[in-house]
């Protein structure tokens, strides 16, 4: 696939995620969504790119996310209506209204829910990969990657040469505590010390693609620098000056991207409205 069409494919998924999250923000502000909600706006190009790469490889990996996982679910084809229902606390939600925003689960797309212990998806994903030998992606934040058991799991995954991809969605923040306050090391270096391939890149889809040639052939860790547009939880903003990959890509692709965005926005709005009628 040529870079341009790849970029557009990724953008379509990112637009789905972004417009979905904008509706979430709207409904949070209106207090229609009442549960703690962790939107992934700003970070959606990571899962969007990986989902396109997996589609190209005709792979349906096991997915282990944690909170801020709406984009993983949507990028990999999770049912939108079920996610809305989940955020509204309905039994028809993808996690029966129990899991909420932070614990999205979908059997259809091989996505496993999260229990709330930060980083527990690291070892759990490693175990699932080991037992099934299926390609597996583990999504961690830069903070949860610091959990000691994540590091233990990384080392063992390397020893067992598992077909696994560790993604660190590095937004530099643990709630509001910056990475430099918490540590003086980088996850890619940790991966290398565990004799895995480790890369630090940004969330440009082409950069992700470039380092993903060998994914699922051996354990790889990608520390992807990205930006969280909204607060850790809820609808507030950290800053209006935060770099927004979505706007950047839309501008870079041009009119086609604006048209895609507009169409998807309409569709998403319609779906939300219909689901909200259940209230």
């Amino acid at each position: 696939m040529k870079n341009k069409s790849f970029r557009i494919d990724v953008f379509k998924r990112a637009a789905l995620c972004r417009n979905f999250e904008e509706e979430v923000i709207y409904n949070l502000k209106k207090k229609i969504i009442k549960m703690p909600t962790y939107v992934s706006a700003g970070q959606e190009f990571i899962s969007s790119t990986l989902s396109v790469l997996c589609k190209q490889k005709k792979l349906k990996p096991l997915l282990f996310g944690q909170h801020r996982c709406h984009s993983i679910y949507l990028s990999f084809g999770g049912n939108i209506k079920k996610l809305i229902d989940e955020l509204l606390g309905f039994k028809s939600g993808c996690t029966q209204g129990i899991g909420g925003s932070a614990s999205i689960h979908s059997k259809e797309i091989n996505m496993y829910g999260h229990d709330g212990l930060m980083g527990s998806n690291g070892p759990i994903g490693v175990g699932a990969c080991f037992a099934t030998k299926k390609p597996t992606i583990i999504f961690l934040g830069d903070a949860s990657a610091e959990e000691d058991y994540v590091l233990g799991a990384l080392g063992w995954a390397s020893r067992k040469k598992l077909p696994i991809l560790f993604i660190i969605e590095d937004n530099n923040l643990s709630i509001l505590t910056e990475k430099k306050v918490r540590r003086n090391w980088e996850m890619a270096d940790v991966a290398k010390s565990f004799k895995m391939n480790g890369y630090t890149i940004n969330d440009d889809p082409l950069n992700i693609k470039k380092v993903s040639k060998d994914i699922f052939k051996k354990p790889i860790l990608l520390n992807i620098n990205t930006n969280r547009i909204y607060w850790h939880a809820g609808s507030g903003k950290d800053s209006d000056k935060t770099f927004d990959r979505f706007k950047y890509e839309r501008k870079k692709i041009g009119k086609k991207a604006f048209d895609i965005d507009k169409d998807i926005k309409k569709q998403i709005k319609r779906i939300w409205q219909k689901q909200l009628e259940k209230l």
Binding site: I124, D148, A153, G155, W156
Partner: protein, 304 residues
């Protein structure tokens, strides 16, 4: 010839790996002794999975394996290591069926032992697991009980915590309940205390004190037999629970339940409320026959 508990575990594990194509995971499985002779000397390709020394991560890795429905066996070589091993098991595997409709059956072998081995490695720690929904806990001390525990696990899809004790590995005998109508007191015993309870009973019988024994195999759910309640109701001095864990967990909860159904007083005996040391003098052992006898004498005397 009757099999020991050790041989039973080994045979079950062998079949589980060879016939069910499952996994056994743990630390130092293939080290000298193969976990007290309970693990068959097979290879990695047969499912013997050596984990690193990262206990917390290992608990999570096993949960991942459990999600694949291969029904892994997980060996925790000292029950006290559960303080590190249990968090992800309890918070994910035990809740997975309820929250995500994905069962995560794991057969956890928590191994207890005693003998001057300090504050973590000694005794049973099943109370750590007890409070979490979605887990079943059994403490088999005989070959038949061990087989029954495994059989239950295989027809179920919950997490099973098997509270083992190395002191039972050589045992070939089945342990029976001794219940009668006119008992002085009934001992409800868990894990290794069951052997001491029998010694205490035999001694007290010779002294003319009729003591009953109720063997607790199912810790969670705590399966109370009707015969236990009947015997309790007819007893003169109620009952006493013996545990190889601290008394503030499983034992006290069981006592409450038994009291509720029988309206008789139930006491608890377990580890003393202090840390165990590494010498005979500083150790913290489960109730020994002499202590049990002493307590029962005291209770009987008070009653009279």
């Amino acid at each position: 010839m009757a099999k020991t508990v050790r041989e039973t575990i080994k045979e079950i594990t062998h079949k589980h790996l060879k016939q069910k194509k499952s996994l056994i995971l743990g630390q130092c499985l293939s080290a000298i002794g193969w976990v007290g002779g309970t693990v068959p000397q097979l290879k990695e390709k047969d499912g013997i999975t050596e984990l690193s020394m990262a206990d917390v991560a290992n608990g999570g890795i096993v949960v991942g394996a459990g999600l694949s429905n291969r029904r892994p066996i997980y060996v925790i070589r000292y029950q006290g290591f559960s303080w590190f091993n249990a968090p992800i098991i309890l918070n994910y595997a035990c809740k997975s069926k309820e929250i995500w409709k994905v069962p995560c059956p794991i057969f956890i072998r928590g191994i207890a032992m005693e003998g001057f081995i300090g504050p973590v490695a000694g005794s049973s720690h099943h109370s750590i697991y007890y409070r979490m929904p979605g887990i079943k806990i059994m403490s088999p001390m005989t070959p038949k009980e061990y087989f029954l525990s495994y059989k239950n696990f295989m027809k179920d899809n919950d997490v099973y915590y098997i509270s083992e004790h190395r002191g039972s590995y050589d045992n070939k005998s089945e342990l029976k309940d001794y219940l009668d109508k006119n008992l002085e007191i009934i001992i409800f015993c868990i894990s290794i205390t069951r052997f001491e309870a029998k010694k205490a009973r035999d001694f007290l019988l010779k002294k003319g004190i009729k003591v009953g024994i109720a063997n607790i195999l199912w810790i969670k759910p705590f399966k109370i037999k009707r015969s236990w309640i009947e015997a309790l109701k007819n007893s003169k001095s109620g009952g006493i629970i013996l545990d190889d864990d601290y008394t503030t967990g499983v034992a006290s909860d069981m006592a409450y339940k038994l009291m509720k159904y029988s309206k008789k007083k139930i006491d608890v005996m377990g580890l003393k409320d202090r840390s165990a040391g590494f010498s005979k003098k500083t150790d913290n052992l489960p109730p020994q026959a002499e202590e049990i006898i002493k307590i029962i004498f005291k209770k009987v005397k008070l009653k009279k």
